[in-house]
C-alpha cells in the first residue's frame, strides 16, 4: 500500500520512461465510485492511469464494454462493484462476477491475457483500498505491456 503510494507520487511523469497503460474503470455508483470519492476527500494518492466511467451497478457492465474498450485502445479494464451482499440492487455484483469470470475464460481461450480484465470489490468506505486497487491494477497492466490486439 505504502509502496504503491510512493510509486505514484515519486514517479513524476518526467522521470518515467516507458509504457504508461491506459485503463478504463467501470465503477458502480453506490460503492466503488463513492469509495473513489472518499479517496479524494482523504487525499490518498494513486496513479492517473485509470479513468472512471460511472455506472449504476457492476451488473450493468456489458461484457461488450470491456471488449470494446480493448478494441478501442485501452490496455486494461477494471470493473469494480460493491462487496458480495452489499449490492445496492441486491445481486447485480453476483451476476457481474459470473459474467466476467466467463469473459476472462474467453480471453484466455482466444489468446488475450485475462489479467487485462480486472475486477474488484470496493465499498464506499474503502478510499484507501481504492487507491491500492488503482496502483495494483496499473502495475499489473504495466507489466503486461501495451495491448495491440483486436
Amino acid at each position: 500500500m505504502a509502496d504503491a503510494e510512493t510509486t505514484a507520487k515519486t514517479k513524476k511523469k518526467a522521470d518515467r520512461t516507458g509504457f504508461e497503460p491506459h485503463i478504463i474503470g467501470f465503477l458502480c455508483n453506490w460503492c466503488t465510485y463513492a469509495g473513489a470519492d472518499l479517496a479524494g476527500t482523504s487525499r490518498i494518492g494513486y496513479p492517473t492511469n485509470i479513468k472512471a466511467v460511472r455506472v449504476p451497478c457492476s451488473g450493468r457492465v456489458d461484457a461488450m464494454y470491456v471488449i470494446n474498450a480493448l478494441k478501442n485502445g485501452a490496455d486494461g479494464v477494471l470493473v469494480s462493484g460493491c462487496h458480495p451482499g452489499d449490492c445496492h440492487y441486491n445481486q447485480g455484483n453476483y451476476y457481474a462476477r459470473r459474467r466476467f469470470m466467463i469473459l476472462r475464460e474467453i480471453f484466455s481461450a482466444m489468446g488475450i491475457n485475462p489479467e487485462r480484465l480486472q475486477m474488484s470489490w470496493c465499498s464506499a468506505a474503502e478510499g484507501a483500498k481504492w487507491a491500492q486497487i488503482v496502483a495494483q491494477v496499473t502495475e499489473k497492466i504495466r507489466e503486461l505491456g501495451p495491448f495491440e490486439g483486436i
Binding site: 445481486q91 484466455s108 482466444m110
Partner: protein, 295 residues
C-alpha cells in the same frame, strides 16, 4: 423407418400436426435433406440414417404451423434451451424421437478420399460430437420410432484434447485465432444455422452504437467471433452445425466447447440443455461462486 412413416402418416391424417419435419433422401447418399411433409401420402419420403446430419430444430421458431419434428438425442438439448428462453414452449411441437448411433462427418469423408460410405460407419468417419455422445436416444420424445440404441460407450472424453490445445501461451493462441478468423468471409452461416441464434436483430447489425464493425479488416472478424463465443456461453449444446456449415472450415466448436467446459467446472456441473429447471449460468448466481480472480 417404416414406423417413422406410419407415425408421420397418422399424425397428418388425424390432423394432429400441420407439418412433419424430417429427413428425405438426397442424390448423395447417405446424406439426406430436410423434408417438410404436409400430406400423408408424402410420408413415404421420410428416412433416418447416419447421414441425417441437419439439426432441424432450427426451423421451429416462427414456423407458424403446428409441427412434428424428428430430433436426435443431442439436438433435444437445444429445445430445452429454447424452452428456457421462452422461445419455444414444449407444447408447440410434437417431438419424434429416434435412436442415433452416430452421424457421418462430411469433412472427414471428404478428406479421407472416400467417394461413398463404407458399409459400417466407422469411428474415423463419425462426427466428433458423436464420439463422446451420451444421449443416443431422444429423451422426452412424444413418439419414439425405431429401435433404441443400446448404450454405446463414449469413445472420447467430452472435452477431449481441449486442455492440451489451450495449454499454448496467449501469444500463440492469439496468432492462431487471428489467422483462423482471417479466413472468415462473414457469410454468417454459423449464425444462421445455429438453432440458438434467434435474435430479431443480431447485434452485429446494430450501428448505434456499432458494437461490431462489419468490415472483415482490422481484426474485426476476431471481434465478431468473440461476441459469438459470448452469445454461446452457457447455451451451446455442441450440435456442431456451425462448424459443418462454415465454408472456410473455422473450428468454432473448439472455442464454444472450451467455454462449456469451463462453465461446467465453475458452475456446479452445469451443462446447457440438461435440465429445464436449472437456470442458465449467466442468468443465475450463487453466493459461493469462485471469487479467486477478484482483487
Amino acid at each position: 423407418m417404416e414406423q417413422l412413416i406410419q407415425e408421420a402418416k397418422k399424425l397428418l391424417e388425424e390432423n394432429k400436426v400441420d407439418v412433419v419435419i424430417g429427413y428425405r433422401s438426397s442424390p448423395l447418399p447417405p446424406f439426406t435433406r430436410p423434408a417438410f411433409i404436409r400430406r400423408p401420402e408424402d410420408c413415404e419420403q421420410l428416412v433416418f440414417n447416419c447421414g441425417s446430419v441437419y439439426n432441424l430444430t432450427r426451423y421451429l421458431i416462427g414456423l407458424g404451423e403446428k409441427p412434428a419434428i424428428v430430433v436426435k438425442g443431442c439436438e433435444q438439448r437445444g429445445l430445452v434451451v429454447l424452452e428456457q428462453e421462452n422461445m419455444l414452449p414444449r407444447d408447440s411441437y410434437l417431438l419424434i424421437g429416434v435412436g442415433c448411433s452416430g452421424q457421418v462427418d462430411e469433412r472427414k469423408l471428404r478428406e479421407g478420399g472416400f467417394d461413398r460410405l463404407p458399409e459400417q460407419l466407422s469411428d474415423e468417419l463419425m462426427a466428433d460430437k458423436c464420439l463422446y455422445c451420451d444421449q443416443h436416444n431422444t429423451p422426452d420424445a412424444d413418439i419414439f420410432v425405431g429401435d433404441e440404441v443400446e448404450s454405446v460407450e463414449p469413445r472420447t472424453e467430452r472435452y477431449a484434447g481441449l486442455d492440451e490445445f489451450f495449454a499454448q501461451d496467449y501469444e500463440e493462441l492469439y496468432h492462431h485465432w487471428t489467422e483462423v478468423f482471417s479466413r472468415c468471409i462473414r457469410c454468417y452461416a454459423c449464425r444462421n444455422i445455429c438453432p440458438l441464434c434467434y435474435c430479431e436483430q443480431c447485434i452485429s447489425y446494430v450501428n448505434m452504437p456499432q458494437w461490431l464493425p462489419r468490415s472483415v479488416a482490422d481484426n474485426n472478424n476476431y471481434l465478431f467471433h468473440m461476441r459469438r463465443v459470448l452469445c454461446m456461453a452457457g447455451r451451446c449444446i455442441d450440435c456442431g452445425e456451425c462448424e459443418r456449415a462454415c465454408p472456410v472450415d473455422i473450428p468454432l466448436r473448439t472455442l464454444y466447447k472450451r467455454i462449456a467446459q469451463k462453465i461446467e467446472g465453475f458452475f456446479y456441473g452445469y451443462r446447457a440443455g440438461n435440465n429445464r429447471e436449472q437456470l442458465p449460468p449467466l442468468q443465475d448466481f450463487n453466493k459461493d461462486d469462485s471469487a479467486d480472480f477478484i482483487l
